[in-house]
């Protein structure tokens, strides 16, 4: 019996050693130089920018780019927050201007050391930690075959009887965008405007695509999306009748950013990647895969991008967004649920 046990012990030990060796070999492979990037799912899907960017960057850096995808931008932030100093992330890619301040306050990021001088002057980018990689204006999309005279202002849309679908500001980025938009245009009067809008809102969806697919199936006259949405329909489907409505009051912009994780020990490689993100090469890929606008002026893009509306920008600083969000959300949920 005793010999039996020792034999078992030995076999156990052999197995452990084998497993150990396996892990060790994995580690050796990994030691090559690996950059872990936290991002959101659609960025790395087969039709997103991820795969192309990975190929090009890996050829330049002699490293291996490791995308770790979570559901969306806010999940990247939450994951980094939960993991704290144990995080594997070197770069957080896919936060936006509404999340910048929280990421900074939670001390999840560190300053970069790249040159951002060639970013479009219109962005007026000053931040030393976050690097923008694309941006877009929120806009209401309509079908120009059905709507001949689209709304020309947010006020006109709110006080019309057109059927509208928008996204829940508690769960989606465009929803938060509309909330910001309402506050930027109406300030303290936003609550009553939400109520007026609620009277002809078809539904408030959890995320962007639920709203957008309902709209495409004829579920509403207008849907909240981005000014770039028509470009997708032109380029991928050769459909030109989906248009973004240009509003007099101006539009709120979403700027998507990347930053180096505070706990990354591969600063140099991470900086190299951030610089790559705003290179002309990457900037001509991101707009036609992520369907947003490039952050540099000389990116090569299909002609459809020249036909997009160019709105005036309004909105708030990341600091104000972070500070006011909860109060704005409460105001919205009270007003819109009546």
């Amino acid at each position: 019996m005793k010999t039996d046990l020792t034999r078992k012990n030995l076999t156990c030990r052999k197995v452990f050693i084998a497993i150990g060796l396996l892990f060790a070999s994995l580690q050796v492979q990994a030691a090559k130089s690996e950059l872990n990037i936290y991002t959101y799912d659609s960025f790395v899907s087969e039709w997103g920018p991820g795969p192309q960017l990975k190929n090009i960057f890996e050829a330049q850096c002699d490293c291996s780019l490791n995308f770790i995808a979570v559901e969306d931008g806010v999940s990247i932030l939450n994951r980094a927050r939960i993991e704290g100093k144990k995080t594997k992330a070197d770069v957080l890619l896919g936060l936006d201007n509404a999340l910048i301040e929280t990421a900074r306050q939670q001390a999840l990021v560190q300053p970069h050391s790249i040159d951002v001088g060639h970013l479009s002057p219109s962005l007026n980018w000053q931040d030393d930690t976050f690097v923008p990689f694309d941006y877009g204006y929120f806009a209401f999309i309509y079908d120009s075959n059905k709507i001949k005279k689209p709304a020309t202002s947010l006020a006109q849309l709110i006080h019309s009887d057109a059927q509208v679908i928008y996204q829940d500001p508690r769960t989606s980025t465009p929803g938060q965008g509309l909330m910001t938009w309402m506050k930027a245009v109406y300030g303290d009067q936003a609550a009553s405007q939400w109520q007026t809008l609620a009277s002809h809102t078809v539904t408030v969806t959890k995320g962007w695509w639920e709203a957008y697919s309902m709209f495409l199936e004829g579920g509403s006259d207008y849907v909240l999306s981005y000014t770039t949405s028509p470009a997708y329909h032109v380029i991928a489907e050769e459909k030109t009748h989906y248009k973004a409505a240009l509003f007099d009051e101006g539009h709120v912009a979403q700027v998507e950013v990347a930053a180096i994780s505070r706990y990354s020990d591969k600063k140099e490689l991470a900086n190299q990647f951030l610089a790559f993100l705003i290179s002309p090469e990457a900037q001509s890929i991101i707009p036609v895969t992520n369907w947003m606008l490039p952050v540099i002026d000389n990116a090569e893009l299909p002609a459809a991008f020249d036909q997009l509306i160019e709105p005036k920008t309004i909105g708030f600083s990341p600091e104000v967004l972070a500070e006011k969000r909860s109060a704005w959300l409460r105001e919205w949920r009270q007003a819109a649920s009546r």
Partner: protein
């Protein structure tokens, strides 16, 4: 099976005789019966630990605390009211509609030919991935839906309307299946007696059918109530605004952008307590009535009156149409998709991963369910009502524990401690298994308790060992075991909620692929993937139903 029912002692001793020729198996069985209590303990330990850890995960991070002041917040009170309203209405409507359909299936001889197909369709409807159902409903009843012109001008799918329609669509079929099975268990002798006593058709209903159905009706009401009270995807998709929200959705919203753990925790406890209490109440009411285990051929079924038969038959016909419509509504979008754009490989591998993950989760859930049921059966045999209810509540508590808390809590707890990019799929499977438990247990339990009531004393007297017990019980529970396994597999196939947190993009499942397509403007591809998912479900339903009914038929011809 019938053989056992007719002549149990003969059959048991035959089996006993058979097994005694194999001494090796009795050694194995002695070992097994000794390990069994340990395994039962481990099963209870596992499922309680998972819930416990989940709550601990929420509490432990960032000093989240209960916020009693939320309980008087007008918004929270409003969604609490709405949660209760929609779930009570959903449960009442589902059961009220199911009763006449189940009776039609039972009493109208002309419908017997289409009955198996209809019951299969019911199963498919109950497990239909909500994403697919919602797309179908929007195509039919949305603003530019096919049926919408026939509806009043102020019709709006979103809000209470849509939530009720989806919940009734999902749950009426469940109720039909349960009730129709229950009706077939009414013994012929009852009908004979009723006819001999000259009872009117109404009296037959109140004296024969009603007592047989009442416990099932109550259980169904409670079960559907809890399912709808905790409903997530349907409410999220069809709620239409912040007013029509359930607590489960509110928990998700609190966690998502605000990362407000305290609010999530408070809402979770509120939901857990309310749903838990209601579920415990039902567990108390839903006692098993004596029903014949297997009725022999049903020759003595009374007929319905002509008018009543017409009404029942019309309802049955309508049910066919209504259950099929959302599936047919998918087709036009599918024709829009260009085959060239489809990535066939990713569709096939997604279907493969879905099946593999579903199978493993269903197998684990089935094993856990059998183990968890052991103390429940013992308590039931010894007529220890309170003990039975406590065990039953513990075993199925994942039905009332907010699924959102289970996955989010475990995620928060495990993320800094375990490499979830490597081990996430293990947790995905485990969490899915625990979430499947209530459905399997609800199906297995009545049958096992029935077996115990009829044969446990006998098998005690015969001093059967473990293997022999299994040999005796297996033919009795085989169909329901396979059936509940299929149900679990089908439910697991539709999972998105857990995958969104623990999933690994290298093992994308079909529902996740659908979200992926839809999330990048590819609606037609999403429709194709939905249709594939639905066909896969339909195929599984067909395979399992054919398998179980074929075996039944063979058994009965032998008997």
């Amino acid at each position: 099976m019938r053989k056992i029912a007719n002549n149990p002692s003969l059959n048991l001793s035959q089996k006993l005789g058979l097994s005694q020729k194999q001494p090796s198996s009795s050694l194995l069985s002695r070992c097994l019966s000794r390990c069994l209590p340990l395994a039962v303990g481990a099963a209870y330990g596992l499922i309680l630990l998972m819930t416990g850890l989940a709550f601990y995960g929420l509490i432990g991070f960032d000093q989240a605390r209960l916020q009693p002041e939320l309980l008087v917040d007008p918004y929270i009170l409003q969604i609490l009211g709405f949660s209760l309203e929609q779930s009570i209405l959903s449960a009442l409507f589902s059961v009220a509609l199911a009763l006449p359909i189940a009776r039609a299936l039972h009493f109208i001889p002309q419908l017997q030919a289409s009955k198996p197909a209809f019951l299969s369709l019911c199963l498919l409807s109950f497990v239909m991935p909500t994403l697919v159902l919602i797309t179908g409903l929007v195509t039919l009843l949305g603003r530019s839906g096919v049926i919408t012109p026939l509806l009043p001008d102020d019709w709006n799918l979103y809000g209470l309307n849509g939530i009720l329609i989806a919940h009734i669509y999902l749950n009426t079929p469940l109720a039909v299946r349960v009730l129709s099975q229950q009706m077939s268990h009414i013994p012929d002798s009852s009908w004979r007696l009723a006819q001999q006593l000259g009872l009117s058709r109404w009296q037959q209903f109140t004296h024969v059918e009603w007592p047989a159905l009442k416990p099932s009706l109550l259980m169904l009401l409670g079960f559907i109530f809890v399912l709808c009270f905790n409903s997530f995807s349907v409410v999220l998709a069809l709620g239409g605004g912040p007013g029509s929200t359930t607590l489960e959705v509110a928990i998700y919203q609190a966690l998502k952008y605000d990362f407000n753990l305290s609010e999530a925790l408070t809402l979770a406890w509120l939901q857990f307590t309310l749903a838990g209490l209601i579920f415990a109440l039902i567990a108390r009411m839903g006692k098993l009535n004596w029903l014949s285990a297997d009725t022999a051929s049903q020759r003595l079924q009374p007929r319905l009156s002509t008018l009543s038969e017409w009404i029942h038959q019309t309802l049955y016909g309508l049910a066919w149409v209504i259950l099929l419509l959302p599936i047919l509504a998918l087709l036009p979008a599918v024709f829009d998709a260009s085959i060239a754009k489809l990535n066939i490989n990713s569709l096939i591998s997604a279907a493969g991963y879905s099946l593999a993950l579903g199978l493993i989760a269903a197998l684990i859930a089935m094993t856990l369910a059998w183990l968890l049921l052991i103390p429940i059966r013992q308590a039931s045999l010894k007529r220890q009502e309170n003990r039975r209810i406590i065990y039953q509540w513990l075993a199925t508590h994942s039905l009332v524990a907010p699924a959102m808390v289970l996955s989010a809590g475990l995620y928060i707890l495990l993320l800094p401690r375990i490499d979830l990019d490597r081990w996430g799929m293990v947790w995905l499977i485990l969490i899915n298994s625990v979430l499947l438990l209530p459905f399997i247990i609800a199906q297995l339990k009545p049958r096992l308790l029935q077996f115990d009531q009829q044969y446990s004393r006998l098998s005690e007297n015969l001093h059967l060992n473990f293997t022999q017990k299994i040999q005796v019980i297996w033919p009795f529970v085989r169909p329901i075991t396979l059936g509940s396994f299929a149900l679990a597999l089908l439910l697991a196939l539709g999972d998105v909620a857990v995958f969104s947190i623990f999933g690994d993009s290298h093992y994308t499942t079909l529902p996740w692929l659908i979200y992926g397509y839809a999330g990048s403007y590819r609606m037609a591809e999403a429709a194709v993937a939905s249709l594939i998912l639905l066909s896969l479900c339909a195929l599984l339903v067909y395979l399992f139903e054919r398998n179980t009914s074929a075996k039944n038929k063979r058994k009965s011809t032998h008997g």
